[in-house]
Symmetry: C2
């Protein structure tokens, strides 16, 4: 990536120089950002709004593999993953802090690529970068992002508000990010065996983009507000549909019926799953990283969103004793189990 | 540390189980903490207060060496380092998020030790743990803490408010944390050469505690409020007195005169520096990690604090063109340079 360029040793800049260098182009957009980078802490002021805070830690070798994740995409995704959590509260994200640990293998130009991705995400989603920390790392790349947002008290949507009879809805489509990852990993293995073979990604653009460049669904938060719908519960799909449904049902002390045939799956996702000998529904249930919004609404709100092509009604909430069930295409009832999170396993 | 106990593999718990296990004992103390752990984001509400946010990333091998840092102390310090940034804004810290990346060498009992330290810091400083992220790590232990606090708008103290003639003040004493680290590193080398030799830490308790168990100076924030003093600028001493003075002068567009003889140095710090052939003043200027508060006040506020033994007046602010100077004990004038930050060097 940087073969023909003269590279800069980060040590030449020092920490403060590095932060200044990397963040000089970032503009402050929000009146709520009283003070950004350059003091001990950022200062925000939301007056009568509720303040939302979310944080994620991304580690090389666990959350990303630099063999196939371009650094700019990594920066972009690190921000999106975090914003998604604020949107999942039915809030508007307004600020982030970014801390990065860098091993000495990264020249300045590599860090700049990461920050280009961060800046792109900030520009696209109207976010102020207000602070952070930059450090050497003896091991690999570490990125920690904290996002801050706000909402009116009446609008904040928790995981625990689903009621019996509510409709279970999801934005966009599911399973694509997981299958994008499978393709990237397959091509990495091919490359490692023979570096002369070009990666075969033809026709896979959509799912690779789902993996490398996910987007938090702020548009859905805005859309729901326009439709005058306040979801009764909401969560983002980071670990897989099954895991997220179980969170909502557990915290709301309810059960649910999920209809397999209603789960939105893109044709490329579907075909790729079949190619790889995987069940597309399992990919949607357990794949994760789609960063779509899963939410419940009152039945009376159904007419407001029934014609929106970007939202699918995939089931409904039942009582706790009925459990969390999926009704398959062949009408068999399965109990939903979480398989979405495996980072500590194997 | 865990030799005689049966250890638990973290994988048995899964991420959500692990977070619940580690944070079940943490109480929510603040009315401003509307929603803590267990949703996509925490929800805070500060009404008319300004919200302060600060974040730090601590990496094994860079910020701490597990050869001599007990895990409980590490958890405690990770929190304190962050709270210190909120206090340095003249604010009250109220919440933290903690994200941890763990390599497979850490059993559950090790993580519990870290959280014991976090809990101790939360209890002592009245802090709510409201969120975070737990992940596997291929790289060693990674801890990212974000702290949140508040202050009345009129009380928030920035680095850029120092005026000519203001007095330069510092709390506590300086250089101890750095010399504690030197002793710990010396004893580690002795141990590596001959594991049968017991570490010789006699009489060094104070400086070792300064290194392993620093405390953010919330008491100074409270004291200044009681004395009805609003500092004109403030910063915490994380990188060393020299570096922090330069931050205040640069951001305030001022110069300063610092008097070497006024720099508060504890006798144990002084003697240890001499033993190791180091200049105690250089240790105070460049050592860092003391987490004391450096601040400037109007001369008219001097009578209010002149009798406080925990605050030293160490110099005064001059105009920008006079530069940042230290007047030595032998009356030689030196230009102050930052040597406090070396993590990317060497």
């Amino acid at each position: 990536m940087f073969e023909n360029k003269e590279l800069t040793d980060i040590a030449e800049l020092g920490e403060f120089g590095l932060i200044k260098h990397l963040t000089d182009n970032f503009k402050i957009r929000h009146e709520t950002s009283i003070k950004g980078i350059g003091d001990d802490a950022a200062v925000l002021n939301f007056g009568e709004k509720e303040v939302l805070i979310s944080t994620d830690l991304l580690l090389e070798g666990i959350h990303f593999d630099l063999a196939y994740v371009p650094l700019m995409h990594l920066g972009y995704k690190a921000v999106q993953v975090n914003l998604s959590d604020i949107y999942a509260m039915n809030g508007i994200a307004t600020q982030i802090t970014v801390s990065i640990g860098l091993s000495s293998k990264f020249p300045l130009e590599a860090v700049e690529e990461i920050y280009k991705g961060i800046e792109l995400a900030c520009n696209k989603f109207n976010i102020d970068l207000i602070g952070g920390d930059t450090s050497a790392s003896k091991q690999g790349l570490v990125i920690s992002v904290t996002s801050i947002g706000y909402a009116d008290k009446k609008d904040v949507t928790y995981r625990n508000g689903a009621e019996e009879g509510d409709l279970l809805c999801v934005s966009g489509d599911l399973g694509g990010a997981y299958l994008g990852l499978q393709i990237l990993e397959r091509e990495k293995l091919v490359y490692l065996e023979n570096p002369n073979i070009q990666p075969d990604l033809e026709g896979k653009d959509y799912i690779i983009e789902r993996q490398l460049k996910p987007e938090g669904r702020r548009d859905i938060v805005d859309l729901l507000a326009q439709m005058d719908i306040k979801p009764t519960s909401m969560i983002d799909v980071s670990d897989g549909l099954a895991s997220e449904i179980l969170h909502i049902c557990e915290q709301s002390e309810k059960g649910c019926n999920l209809y397999e045939e209603k789960i939105p799956i893109d044709p490329v996702t579907y075909e790729t799953a079949r190619e790889l000998g995987l069940d597309p529904t399992i990919c949607a249930l357990s794949g994760g990283e789609d960063y779509e919004l899963l939410f419940t609404i009152k039945q009376s709100d159904y007419p407001k969103l029934k014609n929106d092509v970007d939202i699918s009604v995939i089931g409904h909430i039942t009582d706790k004793n009925s459990g969390c069930k999926m009704i398959s295409k062949s009408n068999v009832v399965h109990t939903i189990t979480a398989q979405g999170w495996t980072a500590f396993k194997g």
